[in-house]
Symmetry: C2
Subunit: 139 residues, 2 copies
Amino acid sequence: MAVLVPYDGSSPAHDAVEHAVETHDTDELVLLHVTELADGMLDAGVDIVQEQLKGLQNPASSEGLTEETQALLEDAALSFRMETTVGNPAREIVSFAEDNDITEIVMGSHGRRGVSRVLLGSVAETVVRRAPTTVTVVR
Amino acid sequence: MAVLVPYDGSSPAHDAVEHAVETHDTDELVLLHVTELADGMLDAGVDIVQEQLKGLQNPASSEGLTEETQALLEDAALSFRMETTVGNPAREIVSFAEDNDITEIVMGSHGRRGVSRVLLGSVAETVVRRAPTTVTVVR
């Protein structure tokens, strides 16, 4: 039983990791980082994709984590791994949950580009609507 | 720290109680039953409202629970209470969470009248969008 936490280094993403750690202390945590590519960008040439992928070295390490999140995970002494993927965030999150042994998605209400504190972010909204599993939107 | 579970006796509502019990075993559970009234119905006369309220006797008891949910809560030996309210379900759930010391809402993706197994129910969708707290949609 693995819990998926979409992770982009933002403060809501950190809060989601914290919530997952608090409520699911016996599970494996999978932190998924999606490098966003606009639709059609894949057709624009592999160079761009390769450029994007440069930032994704050592996906199994904790390199992509903020110090705060890293400290939190170390304190929790929890089994976790990082995964990375490229594409549309909501679609990648749902598809990762479908293809892997994910029982629950725990996510922040907004990612790095979220601007509204009132309205739900479009990524969270789409994931809640389409995910095959239980979804927790952390506020 | 109280967890709110909207409860209408449906199977998704039972699953939500089960999820809440499994992930929040130290919290108080508040089971909220909303008797739905269409907008404007309150203007139609208090008789109708009183008729609706007849079913809400002993809100503090476990009378409104299915046997299955009652057994689950007894096994969990968990502190819980039932609350009842009348009105638009999504609005009542959000407003109850705002007015009480609710830290998280755990709800089924569909209620008693949910027809689709694919799309998210409109009550769940509205609650996720408007709730001031973390919301878990159980599938």
